[in-house]
Amino acid sequence: MGGRILLIEDEGNILEAIGFILSRAGWEVQGHGNGATALEAVVRTAPDLVVLDVMLPGRSGLEILRDLRGQPGTASLPVLMLTAKGQSKDRETALELGADAYLTKPFSNAELLETVTRLAEARAGTGPG
């Protein structure tokens, strides 16, 4: 399994942890810590999958998700949302806006890998590649 993952997360330690886990699993991981410039980062890196935190400085992850879904180039880009708020309302909002998966912090490393793999496979199966 390979491919490029854009990880948008403002907490440095979490960025490092997820980056380490996904890289070890064979992914090429790009990190980005600012919500305001996240969309440009997506366009610039053209990832196969985006891991997106909800609580971001500058711009909320949910807003970024909505914009991604609104643009033709990124409308079907797989997005895994992360949140530390853990309220079911946030989860529903995220799924409604078109998130493909949703993880609540803290999550297990296995859970993260499994989800990322599932999304990548699903994309490989249906999408144009």
């Binding site: 979490i14 708020k85 912090k105 803290p106």
Partner: protein
């Protein structure tokens, strides 16, 4: 000459005839058939009781003595009936609208239904009427003795005659005056009998006049010549006395109890007044037409020897006209009896209503008010009063011994009752008239009149205490009736009249202006003065045509068309009427009223039905009851309003509390969400790295060390967060205990910098201080203050973005406070985020990723509040500036 017995027989037959007329009239009236009773002529004739035996006989006597002065007695009423017709009409309307039963009732009713005023007027009326009745008895007795020859039972005893006449009149009055307690207080039988007597009276005097002019003299021309030669035409002329007497007579027709009885109480139709306005003056003109000729012929026949008061009788008698004399006798008898009957009736109403009944109610107050037949008591009281009045009249006649002084007492009595006039006129025309004014006026007039005229007259008649009267009481000359106010009165009547009426009127007006009317007086005052606004003209005894239609319309408005129609149809069927419109019988009206009462309340229903029936206008009591009901409704509605206001206020408070709770709940959710975020974030790193470490095989040492350190730092972060949360919670709930004591500001700063510096050994932050200004002794909780300083210093360490970060700490002493300012040389906090810095979990965007939960400033501010000082952010272009303010009491130790 007719024997005494024959004369008695004629009288008995005459009285029996009157009984017959009265009885028939009552019967016809009860059947509703007596058309002639409803005639204005009957009403006018009943007014003729004004011309009593005193004027019937006395006018000729007066003409023989003083010429035309007798005319004043007729002139006064004539002027009132023609010139003051509007006043009479208003009196009659008020009397009907208010169900007035007597002149005393009128006065009392107007002035707030005052019992005291009614009693006062009644007393005045008794004093004014008693000698008048005596006068009638005297004239009848006198005429008897003149006319009748010796009786078969011996010489006629004049005293006996009087007592029999009194007894007969009592009986007649009781029978026809107190048959029932009619609401309208009308007595058709009595009025009919009086009308008949009026005709007899007029016929007799006209017959004598015609006899004198055409029988004794040779027609009018000869008569005029005889008058020219007679001493009658030589009589003097006293303008003041004429004016006074005319005014007095005019007043009497309004105020005499018996005149009020026939004029107002017995009036069955307001329109009759219009006829009476010309017919009554005409009657007076006719009855006085031949007074002068009779007096002239009398004087010619008897010279100064005979009693001129009896010329009317003696002239035809001595000229051999026995039949005519008998008619004259009956005319005089009629004049006397009709006056006595009506006077006794009027007085009995007043006495029983205003003196006996109030006393009786007072005495039986403790009994059950429902027990006992009040009607029987009232009727009994009236019968006793009639007997009492006649007995008083008879007693007075006996005491006076038939003296000449009786003649003068007629005018004295006039003046007595005239004292009511100011209060009567004022009450009808002036809303400002009050009970106090009326009582003062009537009372003062009454006292003056009694002292100046009544008492001297009685004293003269009975020969009592002349010395006191001559010299005045206690020898005070100006109080003597003979010389009131030191005036040498040539005419005591006129003097007394001017004094009593003048002071009466003056006190009435002053009293009214200076006193305040009660609500009842105000209401009654309006009802009297504006009677035409408050009542409809009252015609006839039967309801008007179309009354049932009016009732139906009213019922429809209140009950609804269907219910009203059903009610009326049912009633019509019960009465056997096919057209669906029932006769407004008392039964039906009562039923209708009950139905209406169910919708609009009893008082209103009664008032509405009464309005349409018309026979009984809305009484003040009805109006008051309506007002009561309305007041109750208003009270109830204002209670409802108050309650609804209360409810609205409660609802508003509840909404407010609810909004507050919702807001708090939102804040709580946000706070919990924030805490969750702040806890989960370090937990995420800890879990991720610990899982990596657990797998551990592929990691090199440096990675292992680094990951362990991250786990360690994040757990410290968690601990700090928990500490802060607990700290904030304690501070916010005020449960924190401050350990205040004396401290040196520079020591506290040293401690804080040391603590913060130990945390940030890697930091490059330089701290600029001026130790001299910091040498301030303060009274505070040094640990807490240090916590604040640490927070501010570590914030600068974390967030100051200058190349060479410098934090300047400066201290300023101001009156009552010390300020410590922390300013760094970074780029500061963006303006839009400044408002948020003291919020929990708020961190400037630039502070993202830095350690700390964003509770530091919130905690610091809470601490400074607890210490009685403050922490504020000072907006500035260069760097972040916080100012810590220590309060005055912090200086106490200094």
């Amino acid at each position: 000459m007719l024997s005494f017995d024959g004369l008695v027989a004629v009288c008995v037959v005459y009285v029996a005839m009157l009984f017959g007329v009265a009885f028939l009239a009552e019967k016809r009236a009860a059947e509703g058939k007596a058309r002639w009773l409803k005639s204005p002529i009957t009403y006018t004739l009943s007014l003729s009781i004004y011309a009593t035996a005193w004027t019937y006989y006395g006018a000729v006597g007066s003409a023989a003595r003083t010429g035309l002065e007798f005319l004043t007695i007729y002139l006064g009423p004539t002027l009132v009936f023609i010139g003051w017709f509007w006043l009479l009409r208003k009196m009659v309307r008020i009397g009907r609208a208010q169900r007035i039963t007597s002149i005393a009732d009128m006065i009392s009713s107007r002035y707030g239904k005052s019992g005291g005023l009614a009693a006062l007027v009644t007393l005045l009326a008794v004093l004014g009427t008693t000698p008048y009745i005596a006068l009638q008895l005297q004239s009848v007795t006198l005429s008897f003795s003149v006319f009748a020859g010796p009786s078969a039972f011996g010489a006629p005893d004049t005293q006996q005659t009087a007592i029999w006449v009194a007894a007969g009149l009592t009986l007649f009055t009781i029978i026809f005056g107190t048959r029932s307690l009619d609401v309208n207080e009308r007595h058709p039988g009595l009025v009919s009998a009086i009308a008949v007597e009026a005709i007899v009276k007029l016929t007799a005097i006209l017959a004598v006049g015609i006899f004198v002019v055409w029988g004794v003299a040779d027609g009018p021309a000869d008569m005029l010549r005889r008058i020219e030669e007679s001493p009658v035409s030589q009589a003097g002329w006293n303008g003041a006395r004429w004016l006074g007497l005319t005014a007095l007579a005019g007043t009497a027709i309004l105020c005499l109890p018996r005149m009020f009885q026939v004029l107002v109480v017995e009036n069955s139709d307001e329109r009759h007044l219009a006829t009476a306005a010309w017919a009554f003056p005409l009657y007076l003109l006719l009855i006085s037409l031949f007074v002068v000729p009779i007096a002239v012929v009398g004087l010619e026949t008897y010279g100064t020897e005979g009693n001129p008061d009896l010329f009317v009788l003696t002239v035809p008698l001595d000229l051999g006209q026995e039949g005519l004399a008998l008619l004259v006798f009956l005319g005089g008898f009629s004049a006397a009896t009709s006056m006595v009957i009506v006077a006794a009736l009027a007085m009995s109403t007043m006495l029983s209503n205003h003196i006996i009944m109030p006393l009786w109610l007072q005495l039986t107050r403790h009994d059950d008010p429902m027990s006992g037949d009040m009607r029987r008591v009232a009727l009994g009281a009236r019968r006793v009063s009639i007997g009492g009045m006649l007995f008083l009249g008879y007693g007075y006649y006996r005491l006076s011994g038939g003296a000449d002084a009786l003649a003068e007492i007629g005018l004295i009595a006039f003046l007595g009752v005239a004292q009511v006039l100011p209060a009567l006129l004022g009450g009808i025309l002036w809303r400002g008239a009050t009970r106090i004014g009326a009582a003062l006026g009537i009372g003062s007039g009454f006292v003056i009149w009694a002292w100046l005229l009544l008492i001297p007259n009685v004293a003269e008649t009975g020969g009592l205490m002349p010395a006191v009267l001559e010299a005045g009481p206690f020898g005070i000359g100006w109080l003597s009736p003979a010389t009131p106010l030191g005036l040498q009165a040539t005419d005591p009547l006129l003097t007394a009249m001017v004094l009593s009426m003048g002071i009466n009127t003056l006190l009435f007006i002053l009293g009214s202006l200076l006193s305040f009317p009660s609500p009842m007086e105000r209401l009654q005052g309006a009802q009297f003065v504006n009677v035409y606004d408050h009542s409809r003209p009252l015609y006839g005894w039967q309801g008007a045509v179309g009354m049932a239609d009016d009732l139906l319309i009213m019922a429809q408005r209140i009950l609804g068309a269907a219910r009203a129609a059903q009610l009326f149809t049912t009633a019509a069927e019960a009465q056997g009427r096919a057209n669906g419109v029932p006769e407004p019988t008392p039964d039906f009206l009562e039923k209708l009223e009950r139905e209406l009462a169910g919708s609009v309340g009893a008082a209103t229903a009664h008032a509405m039905v009464a309005q349409i029936i018309g026979g009984a206008s809305v009484s003040v009591r009805d109006l008051l009851a309506v007002a009561d009901e309305t007041a109750q409704i208003m009270e109830y509605s204002s209670q409802l309003e108050a309650k609804s206001t209360e409810l609205a206020q409660t609802a508003a408070r509840l909404r407010e509390v609810n909004a507050k709770l919702t807001e708090l709940s939102k804040q709580k959710d946000a706070f919990l969400s924030q805490i969750s975020h702040e806890l989960r974030t370090p937990m995420t790193s800890i879990r991720a790295f610990s899982e990596i470490l657990m797998q551990g095989d592929t990691l090199d040492d440096s990675a292992r060390t680094r990951f362990s350190k991250i786990i360690h730092d994040e757990s410290l972060r968690l601990t700090r967060l928990l500490d802060d949360l607990l700290d904030l919670s304690v501070l916010e709930h005020g449960r924190v205990t401050l350990h205040e004591g004396e401290a040196q500001l520079c020591d506290v700063l040293d401690r804080a910098i040391h603590a913060a510096g130990a945390q940030a050994e890697t930091g490059r932050l330089a701290i600029a201080r001026d130790r001299e200004t910091e040498t301030v002794a303060i009274w505070t909780d040094a640990d807490r203050l240090a916590q604040v300083f640490i927070n501010l210093i570590s914030n600068a360490q974390k967030y100051c973005d200058a190349e060479a970060p410098v934090l300047t700490i400066s201290v300023r002493q101001l009156p009552g406070r010390v300020e410590v300012e922390f300013a760094d040389n970074g780029s500061g906090i963006p303006a839009r985020q400044r408002a948020l810095i003291f919020e929990k979990f708020a961190r400037a965007d630039t502070a993202r990723g830095a350690p700390g939960a964003g509770l530091g400033l919130a905690i610091s501010r809470e601490i400074m509040d607890r210490l009685g000082g403050g922490l504020i952010y000072i907006p500035s272009d260069s760097g972040v500036r916080f100012r810590v303010r220590l309060p005055a009491r912090a200086l106490r130790a200094a």
